[in-house]
């Protein structure tokens, strides 16, 4: 009897390791939500006025202005390149090909409020839900959902509130985070599982902000403080969601540190300057970008205009989001997020949490017959999954 029990136990252990069949995935679809950093041309469909990004010198490095707020490619373009899919088209360009996803980002987008001629985060998510029938359920659950939003909320807040108290700052951040929370849940409800978030940069270091403050040496405090507060709360939100939502997977990229590194030690990162923008007028070229005042070598600059990165800086960001270590982008980089099997909730660092997460999925073994059946099911399933998932082990 004892030997049967121990034999039972010995076979059961490795089988129970595989108890939770991970569903292999290989994301080939990218949905993009955000503001002008990610806008690939939606703004021009929403604005009656001239949209600067639709005209030179925007796009100067690639020879074509596409509505992107840069001299060339933006971060979603590079991520699409690395994923091996075509650049993601703006959703409002209705004739475009959306087989690999869609870009809902619009310049001037915010989380809160209702600014004109744009789509807030909630409106972007609604737009996604309206168009959801363009993609299968499988596609939607395997896809990566990329978010970058909030900078305009905080830039406006800093403009309108000169010295808010700590409580006031936190209250505003709470409002923003609460809305992001509900919008992510809406996407999750529609089947989304893989969420990639880029946090906010030190907003006080943007050329347009420094120039407006009159002090070109120091980054402006309040916008950067708001960004930091937001970033901490946003990461906490990710951790919370990964506990609340089954199968929730995320990648949180520390854009703040990347920009800060490049502003402080520009040359280490191959930029000539992290202070002035490439295109514009004023002490830091922070406003009024036009063909008359664009630099000759955008790749030497971090900022193309007062608020947006050059193609070269976007490329760095793409590399970092895609393949850097967890202290830069964690707990998974996008390359790992892309192939992470579905149904794996989160990489938990705490054994008690791992146990708690496992409990609902206990299966009671009634008899040896069950085990044998499970054993053969698992072996077939696992072999199939293993072959498909070999790239996952990277």
């Amino acid at each position: 009897m004892a030997s049967l029990k121990s034999h039972f136990f010995a076979t059961l252990l490795p089988l129970l390791l595989l108890l939770h069949f991970p569903t292999v995935s290989f994301a080939q679809t990218l949905f993009v939500f955000g503001d002008s950093l990610y806008d690939a041309g939606n703004k021009q469909f929403l604005s009656q006025n001239r949209v600067d990004a639709s005209f030179p010198p925007y796009g100067v490095t690639v020879g074509q202005a596409t509505g992107r707020w840069s001299d060339g490619s933006i971060v979603p373009d590079y991520l699409a390149d690395f994923m091996g899919i075509p650049h993601i088209s703006p959703i409002l360009q209705t004739t475009a090909d959306f087989s690999h996803g869609a870009n809902f980002a619009v310049a001037d987008a915010t989380v809160l409020g209702s600014p004109p001629e744009t789509m807030t985060l909630s409106q972007q998510v609604s737009k996604f839900l309206e168009n959801k029938n363009k993609w299968t359920n499988q596609t939607c659950s395997e896809a990566i959902y990329l978010f970058y939003i909030g900078s305009d909320d905080y830039l406006n807040y800093a403009k309108n509130n000169s010295s808010p108290s700590d409580d006031e700052k936190q209250a505003f951040v709470d409002q923003v985070i609460t809305t992001i929370d509900s919008q992510i849940k809406a996407v999750y409800g529609a089947g989304g599982r893989k969420f990639a978030l880029q946090n906010l940069p030190p907003l006080g270091c943007l050329p347009v902000v420094k120039q407006a403050s009159g002090d070109v040496q120091e980054c402006v405090k309040l916008p950067s403080e708001m960004a930091t507060l937001h970033n901490n709360n946003l990461l906490q939100l990710m951790v919370k969601l990964s506990r609340e939502l089954n199968g929730f997977q995320y990648s949180f990229y520390d854009f703040f540190s990347s920009v800060q590194n490049r502003v402080i030690k520009s040359k280490t990162y191959t930029f000539e300057t992290g202070i002035a923008a490439c295109c514009g007028t004023g002490s830091l070229n922070g406003t009024g970008c036009s063909v008359d005042n664009v630099c000759t070598k955008p790749e030497e600059y971090i900022f193309f205009d007062g608020k947006h990165l050059t193609q070269e800086a976007n490329l760095h960001v793409g590399h970092l989001m895609w393949g850097a270590d967890p202290e830069v982008v964690g707990p998974n980089n996008l390359r790992e997020l892309m192939v992470l099997p579905l149904d794996i909730t989160v990489i938990l660092a705490n054994i008690q949490e791992a146990m708690a997460a496992m409990r609902p999925r206990q299966r009671k073994i009634e008899s040896l017959y069950d085990i044998k059946k499970m054993e053969s099911e698992m072996e077939n399933h696992w072999l199939y999954q293993f072959n498909e998932a070999s790239s996952f082990m990277i």
Partner: protein
């Protein structure tokens, strides 16, 4: 029973799931709080070259450091093997470059410099001998003798001697090669003795990589995608053969001399021959650079290098230096692997071996019997 099963399965699941982002836990016998000192060439250089060179040092700039967004003079996209060994030894900081001003050397330092050799006078660099003398200069101000005696000294040197020799003597015959190997290894022995008389007693000597398999060598000597440049592999093997016996002798004659040899040659060779077992997609070319094997000029301002998007698929970051992912593997192997990888003991065993005690095991050459004996081991370096 059911609860017990679940605990074990959860542990197993937890283990599987945390393979990527390992919380590094060092359990077991207490490791003494000692230092790690490294000597040698660019493999262990933690930023010394930047201090010694007047010209542009590409390793201080993006895309070096890409994995951590921190270009700091290391020849890698992130941390190097000594950093991981230090972590496992419980050292809370990265081992700093000794030649940089204002660095915390309380738990060790790197005296290694890119382009370092054993023989000759390398430009804007230091021979091993000069590095040891530098260590001596800094000794009095920083570390006491007892601390040094208990600390670990890692050395990786010689690659540049053979790379230069082959470049300058492309048609060297067997006896010329032999003679050169003898002069190089004799110098190594002398320099190790010098370090020993400076107070060091625990030595980790990393033997040479298969130099012919480095992407920059394959590229420069046009070996194609599948072959290594065997002439350089031969030289490395000849050099490596002499290391073990030399150290055995030192251990017999020098009281308290303790050593181990890390078989880096076969560690790299295995990864080039069975790359998928070690989860490297590409081992014959570099992640960053230009040329047939993308091996030249990573980070140089006048070279438009390619840069791979996922450096964790590569064994080599640039033409001759390993990625952080590989370096982490080396750290694990150095610290805890079996004698077929590092012998006669690993760093974990070396660091707790009592000082002043003679060694009870010696380095043994790998014969077919020892290979058979060690092949029965689990081969856990596959993880």
């Amino acid at each position: 029973m059911a609860d017990h099963c679940n605990l074990v399965s959860v542990l197993g699941l937890f283990l599987v799931l945390t393979l990527f982002h390992n919380p590094i836990t060092v359990a077991g016998q207490t490791i003494p709080a000692v230092a790690l000192f490294t000597f040698g060439d660019s493999n262990f250089d933690a930023g010394n070259k930047q201090t010694l060179s007047k010209s542009f040092v590409a390793q201080g700039f993006w895309p070096y450091g890409k994995s951590r967004d921190d270009p700091n003079g290391k020849f890698c996209d992130g941390l190097i093997a000594p950093d991981f060994v230090a972590k496992f030894m419980g050292i809370p900081i990265e081992i700093p470059a000794a030649l940089k001003p204002n660095v915390n050397v309380s738990r060790g330092a790197s005296f290694a410099v890119a382009d370092a050799t054993l023989l000759g006078a390398p430009v804007e660099s230091l021979t091993l001998n000069q590095q040891v003398r530098k260590f001596n200069q800094m000794k009095a101000a920083n570390w006491n003798d007892d601390f040094i005696k208990k600390s670990v000294f890692m050395i990786y040197i010689g690659a540049n001697d053979y790379l230069n020799f082959t470049k300058n003597n492309p048609n060297a015959d067997a006896s010329a090669q032999q003679a050169f190997v003898i002069s190089v290894t004799n110098k190594l022995k002398n320099d190790i003795s010098l370090l020993y008389s400076s107070g060091a007693s625990k030595f980790v000597i990393q033997n040479l990589a298969p130099l012919g398999c480095l992407p920059i060598v394959r590229q420069d000597y046009h070996t194609g995608m599948d072959q290594c440049y065997e002439k350089l592999n031969d030289l490395a093997k000849q050099h490596n053969e002499k290391i073990g016996p030399m150290l055995n002798e030192l251990a017999k004659t020098a009281p308290g001399f303790q050593f181990t040899v890390f078989d880096f040659y076969n560690v790299i060779l295995r990864r080039t021959q069975r790359n998928m077992n070690f989860r490297f997609f590409i081992t014959n070319s570099s992640c960053c650079g230009v040329g047939t094997h993308t091996a030249y000029g990573c980070g140089l301002p006048n070279v438009h290098s390619e840069l791979c998007e996922f450096q964790r698929s590569y064994l080599f970051f640039d033409g001759r230096h390993n990625t952080e992912k590989a370096q982490e593997m080396f750290g694990h192997l150095l610290f805890g692997a079996d004698p077929n990888v590092i012998q006669p003991m690993n760093v974990r065993e070396l660091v707790v071996y009592p000082v002043d005690e003679p060694m009870r095991e010696s380095w043994e050459p790998t014969t077919s019997t020892t290979v058979q004996a060690s092949d029965s081991s689990r081969g856990y370096e596959f993880y």
